[in-house]
Structures are given as structure tokens and as C-alpha cells.
Symmetry: C2
């Protein structure tokens, strides 16, 4: 599976189950949510806006997408949101490595020989390390680890979250 | 980090937190346990016994270990157990790939370029796919996915379990 096949499989609707492991203060929480991932055209206004913000040519993007999610909740005020996910390869010849634009952040991605995608994003507070892989084309795993800056030492691992995501519908044609 | 450094870091005592995601019948369960991993000598009788069972020369083993675990539980009858973990490289020159003997099973391992260890084990009921990596030398992540044989189709993913494991003590000298 190359990076193109890997990213193409993202598109669709997924039922997501989340388990939070906290290493600092506080307790982890588990939750279920529905995630809809749609492919964007290269002339999409939101795509152009995020590329301009990061000073990147939108035509360099491969498989730009929009993630929309809504958490399952008994309250009428369900947590929800959306975010763009725009991979920009370093080089057309080596698309397995590059940057990912997402909201305010710009991360680095690399698809490993074991077909897992690693994404590292530096944030104002520290860093987020993600690893994404497939159990099969309709089952995706994701572990996100949050590291928090310390004054003196290496960043401290604050929390890590495991997601298992089952495809619930094929993308609309 | 090469396979030797990767496996050497296993040794020690770990506090483990587990989250189970079930995809078939039944509900997942979360649990905490204490895992003690000790290095074995090449002349250890248990190591020699498992190698004989699998018809392998014990001198080919790298970093053979014994895992002992005990689940945290309010009952006086705490679930516990132990199992050997014996990596046998395919070839001395390429130790990042080989087999792992563990109990009745013999799995295949490979350390990827992204420093994650993949282990695939065929069982009588199906297969177990594991992925192990470090957040830092004292924080280890592990996802184990259980696939169950079907009569006709590809094996079905039954359950996947996320473990985050924090080192709680250095190995005894």
C-alpha cells in the first residue's frame, strides 16, 4: 500500500471508539463518535485559505480532506467540530514523506515500510505524535500521544489516546 | 534504535493500563496490571524446553525473556500468569526479522524503520497481530488485534486492545 492508497482509504464515514490513558493529573475518558471524511477539490476555498495561511501552493496537496466529527452524547449539546487535513509531499518523487496542514498546525508525516503513518506536530504547548494504520480497509487504528513542554527537561508524555474506527458507509459517489 | 536496543528496554517492571475494543459480541473491559519482564540466560531450563518444543537451537535466541503479570483486582484471586518471549532472528546479519517463540505459539516479528515492532502469530482460532513501540524509554505502547477464522471469508477482526505501559522500576542488577 503506497501513501496514495493509504490516504484514499480515509474517505468515508467511520464509527470511532476512543480510550484515553492519562499519565498526569485527571482521569481518562472513553467516548464514541461519528467521523465523516470527505475529499476536497484542489480549488476548494477552505483548502486555498489554509494553504495561503501556511504559504504553500494548493496544487502540491495530495488527497486533501475535511474531517467532521460528532461525539455520541445524551446531552442535546453534542461536542462536534471539523478540521482540514492537507498532506503536502516534500517531493513528487517521494510522496511518502512530507508535511500535513491542519488548522493552525503544520505537522510532518512519513509512511513507514510497515504501512503505518506517523505524524509529528509541534504545538505551542509541546507536541502531538500520531500513528495510524489499518487492520483491514474498513478498520483503522490510531494512537495519538500528547507531549507537554517542560522548563528544563524533555517534553513529558501527558496523555495517549487509542481510537479504533470502523467504516460505517462508503463515501457518496 | 536497533532490535537489540529495542528488546533490551523491555526488561523491568511495568504498570500496564489496558483498554479493550470489541467488534463482535460482548463488551470490552479495561484493567490495570503489573508486568515484570526478566532476561533469561541461554542455559535457562525453561528456555531450552521451549526451543526443543519448537525444534530451534537455543543459542540462536536474542534477548530471551520471561513475562510475569498480575492484574489489579479487588478479589483475592487476582488473574495472573507468565509466558516466555524468545526472539530467534532469521539470520545473524538481519536480526530485525525473525520468529518469536511464546508458549504454544510461534510468531513472526519485524522491526520497522519507524522503530515499531510488528508481530504476527497464527493460532488455531485465527491470528494475533501486535504492534509495539516506545513513547520514550520508560513508556511503551502496544496494540494487539485478534482475528478469528471464518469458514469462507478472510479472518474477521474480533477485538483490539490498547496497552500503555509505564516503567515502575529498573531491573534488578
Amino acid at each position: 500500500m503506497d501513501i496514495h492508497q493509504f490516504l484514499e482509504l480515509f474517505v468515508g464515514r467511520w464509527r470511532s471508539q476512543r480510550s484515553d490513558h492519562q499519565f498526569g493529573e485527571g482521569n481518562g475518558s472513553d467516548a464514541r463518535s461519528l467521523i465523516e471524511i470527505t475529499a476536497l477539490e484542489l480549488d476548494d476555498p477552505e483548502l486555498i485559505a489554509i494553504c495561503e495561511k501556511h504559504d504553500v501552493d494548493p496544487n502540491l496537496a495530495i488527497h486533501p480532506m475535511k474531517f467532521s466529527w460528532e461525539e455520541e452524547s445524551l446531552s442535546s449539546n453534542k461536542p462536534k467540530g471539523n478540521v482540514l487535513f492537507v498532506p503536502i509531499p516534500n517531493d513528487v518523487a517521494t510522496p511518502q514523506k512530507g508535511s500535513i496542514l491542519s488548522g493552525q498546525n503544520k505537522g510532518l508525516y512519513e509512511l513507514g515500510s510497515d504501512e503505518s503513518l506517523a505524524i509529528q506536530t509541534l504545538t505551542a504547548q509541546g507536541a502531538i505524535e500520531e500513528r495510524i494504520w489499518y487492520g483491514n480497509p474498513n478498520l483503522r487504528f490510531r494512537v495519538a500521544t500528547l507531549l507537554q513542554k517542560n522548563n528544563s527537561q524533555d517534553p513529558r508524555v501527558q496523555r495517549s489516546t487509542f481510537y479504533s474506527e470502523i467504516r460505517s458507509a462508503m463515501p457518496k459517489a
